[in-house]
Symmetry: C2
Subunit: 986 residues, 2 copies
């Protein structure tokens, strides 16, 4: 497997990742990449039909169960994906038969994973298969799956088996015990229970077939309930199977299997569920999106990383948090680290503060676990677990046990020594409070955490009477290559900072909420004595900075370690610890990840000591070359990128940024099969906003000091700060000059109320694409069609005229023919022949089309749109659209063509326009549809797009804007008309 | 759950264990008890229909896979048992509906597990279900399962689903990865592969329905292939489903799933497979059986324990051995301990020497693992693993890790310190060689083991120059309550003994096979220097025995430990280690199991130092009261029983014996859910043979010094010694006197060649039961039947006479009627009425039967048989047999009655006679059937019994012996006739 290399079969568009090949040897890596989720659960991107060596998994927040050595782990839940298609006895699988065409797309604008395959079975039958799936973020207990099959060169028996697999496993482990299942009308359900934690799960599923008469059966093998639909399929006719799954656990309801069954029967159809999904995602992106122009890879990669964080963030649950590998893989067993508070949280604080609050409340609900840990270790107060799960008790394994019976057991010391986590949590709480002004939460939850962890520090520090200073001995700092160190500056300074904030919060609480202050004083045995001790520690804790040079020693004695030149080890593909051994790394000046530099980064936010330009420069120069930034911790690159950006090292900053941004998309470290690197994803946001955007928080809100990477022409985002949204639209120097917008690199920012933010991306100002119907909109092919149908009708002796032809606008070939022949008794083969005949007449005639056949106003509008940077697509039911566009001479103006081959469902289904938008790389609500047919307008609306109707109101009156034709219409005029509307019609 | 108590619902017969109640809360315990197997695999006694909380498991020898902490474990293989019966939509399960009748029987004479249930479904339908299963010991890749259903009060739709469950688990662990499956004609198959060890398994199964027109379907949920048969069942008509499963792994064949499929299609039918099973078991028991009279519980319990060892012994595989929990449970993960060589092996050495050889060859094949262990620990030669699996590498876990995140990790020291295992293996090899004279194996395998482990001892002992002695420091002895001791006498003496034998074997090899000796000298760097060192160690190793008193100190300093009175802790239900803690037990004079006494027991075999009467007495008196014999190790009681017997402590001996014998049958220690206590089972055999039988091996073979428990009237067994079989028939004093057989407790023994032993129990001399047909054999009820049928026929106007009646001999009521009415068009209800009417006539008439109705010779023969100790059963198709026997006045002479209610299948099926034999507690081949009907003779032959036919040759000529009637026939005469035959007819 190409663990290292770029994934060269990937195509990045603004919102869409396209995989163009099937890679049987990279199944697990790509499963991680194509993870979808909804903040309640995450499902890895495993294939519906299942392959050996795959690691299908669905993780639900908070569903933990006991496991040896690592105590507890997030449990792989029953698999809702199995969907097996059998064609004349051949089971569809990509490792048999022949793949004629393959593409898999993740559209992060709507959380939709699709796959289109043209496959020839071992017996030689060719079939198009289209798969879709989503985990509804509009209703997080709902999962949707669709499979469309179109035989191309055969009629035959097709079976679609849709199952729930009740035997999921955490590799090698099985957490599920109790098992019950049964069938319902057209449905199945399953009920299981975890072995030790006794969490019940219930799933229900149904299967709907359209496009064929299917016979439905239920098989009920224990643990593997299956719905089977069997039908006779006909060549070139699409049959659609829609599987809807509901899922609950006993964490939410007392009888989850009952809840799942009851919910299933009241759900709307798949199409509506998908529409709700699209709308919900549009709202999320309104707040969290970042627009980058000039660098499509970065633009997509940033959105991809944010998407992976958004689907892992608990929407309605404040007793869980985001694990290091999100809900996307088995790595770190779903345990929660400082990754969440320090790396991931800022994205949520500034774009989805209610999610940030949930994540921090998890630490409040696990405070008793932190207290148990402190008590067990002989300390006071609350000492947070280095690895935390459901209870907050320490679940870092003590041992890495080898499989080799004579191998050494390796003691893991993080649980004992990596104590900075408690200060990290206080740090996150402080900045959440600063950004949101959420005094209520600080009063009810935050203060107790910060104060009780401060009490822990009071018991943990040691007074060294010889030097009259406080010390913290025997720790692991941020850099985990050094496992037993004293007076790690990162830790000592964070503890000092923590105690400073504890005093501020304590004083604030006494002043503002004296009753709550009293309550906590009683509960935590808090008072002036404790406050004085904190002050004493603040004043006298030892920090190892050389006041003359500004150089900070990572910990006592670090500079005495053997020095190292990492260049001597290049090229390498392993971490320095793997190369040197644990002891070898321990005794050398080599860092797994930033430690002094991490401290500087954390203090940069508030501009506090020891962060200043000189200190940054001197310590960067010392530590950056000694840091294993490529194969050490994945937490490093984003931090280095920000600091390099501060130091004006633009190329280095961009290199580190891309290293972080592609860590999962291109498996930069060769370990993305374990799951998404959540901290890295959070670091990406911080790099873009704090690094390239140069955002700093002032008392008046955020301000930008942008340092855009050279190729970026624009960076646009919004931040939430104390109840208001601040928009930033930053342009590169060149771009700014072209726009005549002022001096070099200047930025534009504006404060907007949230309500306006909500409208923003759905107003005409944000429209970025126009999809034109062809016939009757850009050209008169309607006339050519009419003539071909007329000729056919005449030959058949069927009455037909121009008036009859009106009903054929925007209607597919087969349906047009049916409208003409009405109930005359033609056989299927006769109908086929007539469709072919008509088409031949039409294809014959359109060879004569020229640019002159463009309708008035069309070419002017196309050119104006082109100049305005608006993308253009054709969305036509015609199977000859490519020829027509070519003949009209507008092929160069058109970015994408969606035609009669593109989708299965004709208008008024939204599919064709959604396909066109995908091809343009745009979300639906940034597109306009221009149509002359009622079915087309309906389709545009169903797709969630703006619609412009050409023709009489009685035909296209449902559109947002109705015009007689395109003649004389300008883009400015169209925008003005759309701006008069507040929201798109539903 | 009643962890402690006797299993009061159990009935013990000579060969049969009957469970009379369903115990949903004791599922796992009883699954262990009802384990079946065939030396290739073991299958726990889980119910076909499956229950929550059950632990179904099938273990196959050598199928290990990696697992955390304990390195490797025996893998639970795909479950072949699932068989689900659904009656009018109600799934048969004992925890729903109503149980009207229940019995489950394990017949160890033929390895057959059966269950008969009368069940009323929730909807109120009553049905008889009879389940059977066996793992064929005649063809170990074949598994048979049968289910017979008889609706009692309804006609209705019944579905029988027979599956293979491809999702077996070792609790919490899943070892299976690769998955493939498909269907065949009337069959299914499954192919899986272990995750790390890459062992493939293939299973195939088919399902045959008789007694109804069934429609067969295959469901193929991934991992759960299922055969489903659906049929309309009719009241009082039995439908039989037979499921035959074949199973292979890649340890035997390269393509196991193909092998399973191919084998399945060439197998004979279920009935034949079962017959082969019965015959194969009869042969095994000829060698391994022990007959105990006067104590039916002990008689069965001994056979049960031997059965559990026999089904765990690898028949054709010398690369595996018997795990501590056999193939019956998850305890100890299928690891192999000294339990096998010291406790289990003697049973095989003396009754199945080829199996003993296989077991010892396992140690030869894992010698390189032992060498790796020695090298890793810094020693020379071969140091066997305390826990061993497939490779012989050490797989004792290093840690017991708590689930509590703050709990202490407990270091397990056995892998490092319990080193006596290497001497234990040498001990077993020596006595195998002594008993078998297998020089070839000693030359090829045994010598290398004994010599290379002796080399290990040479590097392991330490010379103490101060005392000029060799010491072995830092060990765990047999008693595991003391974890770090020096100069454990048990270990030191065994090492000395081992080196003594090593020298003998080395000298023998040089003298007998000089080339092999040279080869080993080269390979092991062996020579005079090594031999001298061994002699020096033998002469100077420190043994802590007080020469004056004979008292042996368990190890250096044991007598200085705090003393303890175990009585003070009674009553208790936990081990002393659980009560005192590890440290608490360590510092007290409390033993988990015999240590000094274990040494004495091991030296007793050859009467070597320090074993003598005085030493035994003084050390028994010291150590027995300090040994946690109830809840310490299950290895203890059998050893105490033998030594107590030596000391004439008959009551104590019997108590310890029964404690061991019932450890699984009555879950004496509350842990039989983990699996059979293999070492205890082996200890049982040693207690009976070496303890109660008092067998000692002399150069002229084994001699007996019996000390039978008071209630035992007879103890009979045979031992294989240097190519010959020695039979022992030991009688208690009282019994012997009654038999006029000589002085008190004297025993009879005789040497027989194996060929004779083979015939022995199948010759008339060993016949122990006679099964008489009733009608036409003992009485004239045939005449009464004839009259009743005649009356009915007359009433119906159907021609019928005495000649017609001849065809009715041995034929069931319904079939008799059908023969009379022929193809006359009666309805079912008319037929029912006629059967009832005839029966009423018959029952009316048999009220007049008296002893005078006995046929000539019957009563004399019955009385003679009675006196000869031959058991007597009636095997009659009649439903009135009980009444007839009563009226004939022979109820006191008859031990069992099998009648028209006993089984489903009439003669010529063997069922009725097999049932009768079961009731007598006898294997089939120790029974004679006396019959007057052709169908009866056929049934007797099918049952594998001797047959005596009464009547003309043209009717009963198939029988072994044909007589005109019983008139004047004596038992002696009958035996003589049978003795003229060499083997029973097939």
């Amino acid at each position: 497997m190409d663990k290292q290399g770029n994934y060269r079969d990937f195509i990045y568009q603004d919102w869409i990742l396209t995989e163009t090949q099937f890679h049987p040897n990279q199944l697990q890596s790509r499963e991680t990449i194509f993870t979808i989720g909804n903040g309640y659960l995450g499902t890895r991107g495993s294939f519906e039909e299942g392959y050996m060596g795959a690691l299908p998994a669905t993780f639900i927040h908070g569903v933990y169960d006991e496991v040896p050595v690592v105590y507890t782990e997030l449990v792989n839940c029953p698999d809702w994906l199995p969907l097996v298609v059998t064609i004349n006895g051949d089971r569809f699988r990509l490792d048999r038969g022949e793949i004629l065409n393959y593409s898999r797309q993740l559209d992060v604008s709507q959380g939709l994973l699709t796959r289109s395959v043209r496959w020839r079975s071992p017996q030689g039958s060719t079939i198009d298969l289209h798969f879709e799936r989503f985990a509804s973020i509009a209703d997080r207990h709902v999962l949707g799956q669709r499979c469309q099959v179109t035989p191309l060169d055969f009629d035959g028996l097709i079976e679609i088996q849709a199952s729930i697999n009740g035997y999921p496993e955490n590799p090698g482990f099985n957490h599920w015990e109790y098992l019950e299942q049964d069938k319902t009308d057209r449905g199945i359900w399953l009920h299981r229970r975890t072995r030790n934690s006794r969490i019940d799960i219930g799933l229900a599923a149904n299967l709907t077939i359209s496009g064929a008469e299917a016979s439905l059966q239920v098989y009920s093998a224990p643990g593997y309930p299956t719905l089977s639909a069997t039908f006779m399929a006909t060549a070139n006719q699409t049959v659609t199977a829609e599987k809807v799954v509901t899922i609950f656990t006993s964490r939410e309801v007392s009888a989850p299997e009952q809840a799942a069954r009851e919910k299933l029967v009241v759900l709307p159809n798949y199409e509506t569920l998908l529409l709700e999904q699209q709308q919900a995602w549009a709202k999320i992106w309104q707040k969290s999106d970042i627009i980058i122009e000039g660098d499509v890879t970065a633009a997509f990669a940033v959105r991809y990383n944010l998407f992976q964080l958004l689907i892992a963030a608990p929407l309605d649950d404040d007793k869980v948090s985001i694990p290091a590998k999100t809900l996307s893989g088995f790595g770190y067993h779903g345990h929660i680290f400082w990754d969440t508070e320090i790396f991931i949280l800022p994205f949520f604080i500034y774009t989805q503060p209610e999610l940030a609050r949930n994540l921090l409340s998890y630490r409040y609900h696990t405070l008793n676990g932190a207290r148990r840990k402190a008590a067990h270790d002989g300390y006071k107060g609350a000492m947070y677990a280095w690895e935390s799960a459901d209870t907050g008790d320490e679940v870092t394994p003590r041992w890495a046990l080898p499989n080799d019976p004579y191998g050494e057991d390796v003691r893991i010391w993080c649980r004992d020594r990596e104590i900075h986590i408690s200060a990290d949590i206080a740090y996150a709480i402080w900045f959440y409070w600063q950004a949101t002004g959420d005094d209520e939460w600080m009063r009810d939850c935050g203060a107790e955490i910060v104060l009780d962890t401060a009490i822990f520090w009071g018991s943990r520090v040691e007074f060294n009477p010889k030097y009259e200073r406080y010390e913290i001995r025997g720790v692991i700092g941020a850099d985990e290559y050094h496992e037993f160190v004293h007076n790690n500056t990162f830790t000592n300074r964070l503890v000092q900072w923590h105690l400073e904030r504890a005093i501020k919060i304590y004083d604030w609480l006494k002043a503002t909420f004296p009753e709550k202050a009293q309550e906590l004083e009683d509960k935590l045995h808090l008072g002036t004595k404790q406050r004085s001790r904190w002050q004493d520690i603040i004043a006298n804790i030892w920090l190892l900075q050389d006041s003359a040079t500004g150089t900070i020693e990572q910990y006592e004695g670090f500079f005495k370690l053997e020095d190292i030149d990492l260049n001597e080890y290049e090229p390498r593909t392993r971490s320095m610890q793997a190369i040197l051994g644990i002891e070898g790394a321990n005794k050398r000046q080599v860092l797994k990840q930033p430690d002094v530099l991490m401290l500087l980064y954390l203090m940069r936010q508030s501009g506090e000591s020891p962060y200043d330009a000189k200190t940054l420069q001197v310590n960067w120069d010392y530590y950056a070359p000694r840091t294993d930034i490529t194969y050490g911790s994945s937490l490093g690159p984003a931090i280095h990128a920000i600091l390099a950006s501060d130091l004006g090292k633009s190329a280095a900053a961009y290199e580190r940024f891309m290293q972080a941004a592609m860590v999962d998309l291109e498996d930069v470290r060769g370990n993305n099969n374990d799951g998404i690197h959540g901290a890295s994803a959070g670091g990406i946001w911080q790099t873009v906003i704090f690094g390239f955007g140069g955002i700093q928080m002032t008392e008046n809100g955020p301000v930008a000091h942008p340092q855009l990477p050279p190729n970026w022409t624009r960076l646009k985002f919004q931040l939430h700060w104390r109840g208001k949204w601040h928009e930033f639209d930053l342009r590169s120097q060149m771009e700014a000059e072209e726009q005549g917008a002022g001096s070099r690199g200047e930025s534009f920012s504006s404060v907007v109320p949230e309500s306006q933010l909500h409208n923003k991306v759905t107003t005409a100002a944000e429209i970025r694409g126009v999809i034109f119907d062809l016939d009757g909109v850009l050209t008169d092919t309607a006339e050519y069609h009419y003539r071909a149908w007329q000729r056919l009708a005449d030959e058949e002796g069927i009455p037909f005229n121009r008036e009859d032809n009106e009903a054929l606008r925007g209607v597919s070939r087969r349906e047009s023919l049916m409208l003409i022949v009405k109930n005359r008794p033609y056989t299927e083969s006769q109908l086929q022949e007539m469709m072919e005949r008509k088409n031949n007449y039409y294809v014959e005639s359109i060879q004569n089309i020229t640019p002159k056949d463009l309708l008035p106003g069309a070419i002017a509008l196309l050119e104006e749109l082109r100049q305005a940077g608006i993308k253009i697509a054709i969305g036509s039911a015609s199977k000859n659209a490519h020829t027509v566009v070519e003949k009209l001479g507008i092929a160069d103006q058109v970015d994408a063509i969606a035609d009669g081959y593109s989708v299965q469902k004709p208008k008024p289904a939204p599919d064709l326009f959604l396909f066109a938008a995908h091809e343009l790389g745009l979300p639906a609500n940034q597109c306009i549809v221009v149509e002359d047919a009622a079915a087309g307008i309906e389709a545009g609306l169903a797709a969630g797009m703006w619609t412009v109707g050409l023709g009489p109101v009685e035909r296209v009156g449902a559109a947002h804007v109705v015009l007689p034709s395109l003649a004389g219409i300008t883009w400015a005029e169209l925008k003005a008309k759309l701006n008069n509307l507040v929201t798109p019609k539903q």
